[in-house]
Symmetry: C2
Subunit: 412 residues, 2 copies
């Protein structure tokens, strides 16, 4: 029997909804190893922390003896993801699928237990699917049912195109559940419709209907939108230790508790304490964030590397003592005034153009004193040495001259 605490963690923490929670609990307590289904789109092989919310849930269940079946969605990938684009995509070659799957699995197994995972490709069954099979599937559902899916409903109402193919997407995903005899399927909240079609199809085909396990959406580092590669607010599981640590440090303070909840094993009682601490402002949030960043970084790298990332952060980022505000100068205007439309810029001219030196002579003196530094938006700062130094600054870099004079270089 599961302890009440374990059960509570499994069915409530990092869970948006389970259909149905009661049935799922009964299954869990039946003692039978469950078949946990998760699909993956081989055209999108990169995993970020938003995805690990679900992977961590799989891992928790594997640690209780359950089996993960990972579906390589090479056929659904061809149709395109259900969230909007209507054009079908060219079928990936088998080589591309295999290559992306390898890349995905390398990341996937940073969280999920390889020994309790079976990887299967949709091609195993859809590669020999006939028109009769398609008719058998499509005859079971109506157009109106499928147009109720929220993204379809919205596009239909706005008269944006929905390719007939897109109606096949949920059907294929559902058929996967039948083939692998899924007990539980995992997906984001936006997957609810598709997971329910699987549940319904299994029942129609004489199987016990799967449980639909929906995970919450993790906000990105901006704390506003969902974590997503295309929004560039993501933390990849493949980040270097320093980048992973630094990116976690960049999240908004109001995300700290949520990240602890969804991305760490911090006990629920400690989570409550943390929430109160932050509410009452008793501890500098920076300290909580550093513990969080260390915890997360340690999950994907060895402890020494995580510690080194923390030390790096303390030295390079915290040690900078940058002012909260500083003047901004556009890269374009710096280039124009330095007479360097492209390529490297002479450092003395850059200082004058940036307004950090009154004359070329002053600029050269600062440079020869070693008092000029570039602080890139990420990575280590470096000094501009010698009065003939050249430099290729980027937007986001900070330029420091002496102790207290800074400018931030901005687009364009």
């Amino acid at each position: 029997m599961l302890s009440p605490e374990t059960l509570d963690t499994i069915v409530h923490r990092g869970v948006s909804d389970i259909i149905s929670r009661d049935e799922f609990i009964r299954l869990l307590q039946s003692g039978r190893p469950l078949r946990l289904k998760m699909g993956f789109d081989p055209s999108r092989p990169d995993i970020h922390l938003g995805h690990t919310v679900g992977l961590r849930k799989l891992r928790q269940l594997q640690d209780l003896g359950h089996q993960v079946i990972l579906i390589v969605g090479d056929w659904t990938a061809q149709i395109g993801d259900p969230s909007g684009q209507s054009a079908t995509r060219p079928m990936l070659t088998h080589e591309q699928v295999m290559e992306n799957a390898q890349s995905y699995l390398r990341q996937f197994f940073k969280v999920v237990d390889r020994d309790r995972t079976q990887v299967v490709e949709q091609s195993e069954w859809f590669g020999k699917f006939t028109l009769a099979d398609v008719i058998g599937l499509t005859g079971r559902f109506t157009v109106a049912q499928f147009l109720q899916r929220s993204d379809f409903a919205q596009r239909f109402a706005e008269q944006r195109p929905i390719a007939i193919t897109e109606l096949l997407y949920p059907l294929l995903q559902a058929y996967d559940s039948v083939v692998i005899e899924s007990d539980v399927e995992f997906g984001g909240t936006d997957q609810m419709f598709n997971l329910l079609v699987g549940r319904e199809l299994q029942e129609m085909m004489g199987q016990r209907p799967q449980q639909c396990f929906m995970m919450p959406i993790l906000p990105g580092t901006d704390g506003v939108q969902k974590m997503s590669k295309s929004l560039d607010n993501y933390i990849a599981v493949d980040e270097s230790p320093a980048d992973m640590y630094g990116k976690v440090m960049s999240i908004a303070d109001n995300m700290i508790v949520r990240y602890y909840e969804l991305l760490t094993d911090l006990p629920s009682t400690d989570l409550a304490d943390l929430e109160r601490d932050i509410e009452l402002d008793t501890v500098n949030p920076m300290e909580h964030k550093k513990r969080l960043a260390l915890d997360i970084t340690s999950q994907f790298h060895d402890p020494a590397a995580a510690d080194a990332a923390q030390a790096h952060f303390e030295r390079v980022v915290q040690g900078r003592n940058l002012p909260d505000e500083m003047p901004e100068v556009s890269l374009a205007s710096l280039r124009e005034q330095s007479n360097a439309p492209d390529g490297a810029i002479r450092a003395d001219r850059l200082l004058v153009a940036a307004g950090l030196a009154a004359s070329n002579a002053e600029a050269r003196r600062l440079l020869s004193q070693g008092a000029v530094e570039i602080l890139p938006s990420s990575g280590d700062p470096y000094r501009l040495e010698g009065d003939r130094a050249e430099v290729s600054p980027a937007a986001g870099d900070v330029l420091r001259a002496g102790r207290r004079r800074f400018i931030r270089i901005v687009e364009p």
Copy 2:
């Protein structure tokens, strides 16, 4: 070059619409043999005169050197016809398809020239259709486009179910056009949407888009609803000469011109004369109808058989000189009063029960004089002979006693 008269007959007579008429005329005049596509549903192998409107058009074009390709729609039949029912039907076995196709072809070739007809089955291509092929097709059209088809639009608006499979129907039919490289597809006016999808798909796939040739609907013998087996207002091409002749004779007078137009080769000038005759009521419509019935019967039977059918009609039906109105007696009450709840009825009792004789004695006298006759609703009349005759009359039969006494036996 085609004569203007021939061209006019082809593109206007027995034509509801052609998309596009101009392109079709250019194709006709190009001198190239055209590929004329017609589909047939092997679950409905019976042909009636309503279908022959299109078959006659095919024959006209064959006589100009064009080629008919008849598609045995064994796959679309499985999905169900597009006009309403949503349930998919079980796939016919190959044996059933072949049997029905044989039956259909026997009727089809009563009108269409066998030598310029190629018969192909959808199984030739759909039997090896893959999921990738399905995705390739369904990706080209949108749900909204298909929901514009009038029967879909109506069902969708009325919240009646449309199986997703049904969206495949027009796609499969369209794909047939691509496979056989159709130049012209023929169908009823209710087929316009499906024919246009074929046209569009061919263009998408780099073929010259087919012409869509829509035939008008032939009213049934009731002159009100479309001719249809299920409405029992049809004349099958398989009718015996006498039945075919008799059924044509039963059409309403206001249908005479329309039947001449759609079902005979009566020249258009004669058609105009006929129309005027009927309008001015200069000739008894019965005479026009007899010429029509002889013409149609001769198309499906040899001239001698058609003449015999006409002679039979004149003798049996016209010769009866039945009054326009006569008393009606229900079969049930005849049986009750004759004390014959089922089986044969003694003729003398029947005559008394029908009110045609005042007593059994009078009835027996009439019978022994050979003055009693049954006139079945179809078929030859027969005399009841001898005063112990027995008879099993049916609803619709007329019972005559002497010259001028009639009753009609009616349900129940």
